[in-house]
Symmetry: C2
DNA sequence: ACCTGAACACCGTTCAAGT
DNA sequence: ACCTGAACACCGTTCAAGT
């Protein structure tokens, strides 16, 4: 829907920018725009032409990851009880986040990019589906929404690399426990 | 222990820097060092002489807040059961954080500034005391530590001003529930 | 011992000039 | 229609020169 309408050189530049952005972010953990343009071999203006904001670029860089996360939610719900599905989905988020910490920025973009329209975006929909299933089964507290979950997952961002292995999944367990309905 | 050993002009500059930093951070929500130096009426080098890193400056700016938070923990434990004490302490954190979002940076500094020595710092000690009391009473899960709590509290940082009132305390409730031991 | 402020490095963003 | 890259704004940090 987009590439075909671009001039050939523009389409190639766009692809090279995204590719360069992936290298830069996975090498340094951060996204420096001038570095991306340099590595892609294009002028800075070209980068801005294709991606007006850094969020636009991040969203494209992680589009596949976000799509996979979104697609995983209904599959997990079909195979597991709601709490297990939520736990497994959290594990996937942690898997993505360890290698590319920046994926959280993309997740947040994915959730909030059309905040103005009242929609919560595809990731928000996925989380809502997981929460709804848990609520219907009476195992998830009724007073949490997708935004709450995103905010809580955000704590993974602050983990040092050194403590990731010992803390990431543990933190998600604690969060999951907080989301569950306390019996009694 | 510090001001008396400084030359008079140095002591005054130091005080003016801290004062300027407080204004800047409460006005803009961020700490721009050149802006602090300008507002304090000192050269940038003077700022660096007194506070070699931005964390040193932040720690001084929020020293009183951090001390109050630390002092509150034993008081709350003396008056309430452990879970209530933890809940009240969380509420205080939220109170501080709403007005000055940057306080979290200071909290993190307060916790980790002597990470190398193995200590968790004063805030870490306060949290550990709260957790220990809860563990002893069998109401807090035994597998969480102060670092976990700091990371989870960090989710408040990402709240927009507009959603603070509706979400902040609610998020802390969810976190608190995650920290509690599930009966059965 | 302490201070100043010019200067440098770095990054994001824009825009006039080109094809 | 698209691209380039010089240029500007901004911020952090250093350091030679001063008192």
């Amino acid at each position: 829907m987009n590439a075909s309408r671009l001039r050939a050189d523009a389409a190639e530049n766009r692809a090279r920018i995204v590719e360069a952005a992936r290298s830069v972010v996975s090498a340094s953990g951060e996204l420096k725009l001038n570095a991306v343009a340099r590595r892609a071999g294009v002028g800075q203006g070209t980068l801005y032409r294709h991606f007006p904001t850094r969020e636009d670029l991040l969203a494209e860089v992680y589009r596949h990851d976000v799509e996979e996360l979104v697609a995983a939610a209904p599959l997990l719900l079909a195979e597991h009880d709601p709490v297990t599905a939520l736990a497994r989905w959290f594990d996937r988020v942690a898997d993505y986040a360890r290698v590319k910490r920046e994926v959280f920025a993309a997740v947040e973009v994915g959730v909030w990019q059309d905040l103005s329209t009242g929609s919560v975006g595809p990731i928000g929909d996925a989380i809502t589906a997981l929460l709804d299933a848990g609520r219907a089964a009476g195992v998830v507290r009724p007073d949490v929404d997708a935004r709450d979950v995103i905010l809580l997952l955000g704590c993974l961002t602050r983990l040092d690399d050194a403590e990731w292995d010992t803390r990431a999944r543990h933190l998600l367990h604690v969060v999951l426990d907080g989301l569950r309905l306390r019996e009694g």
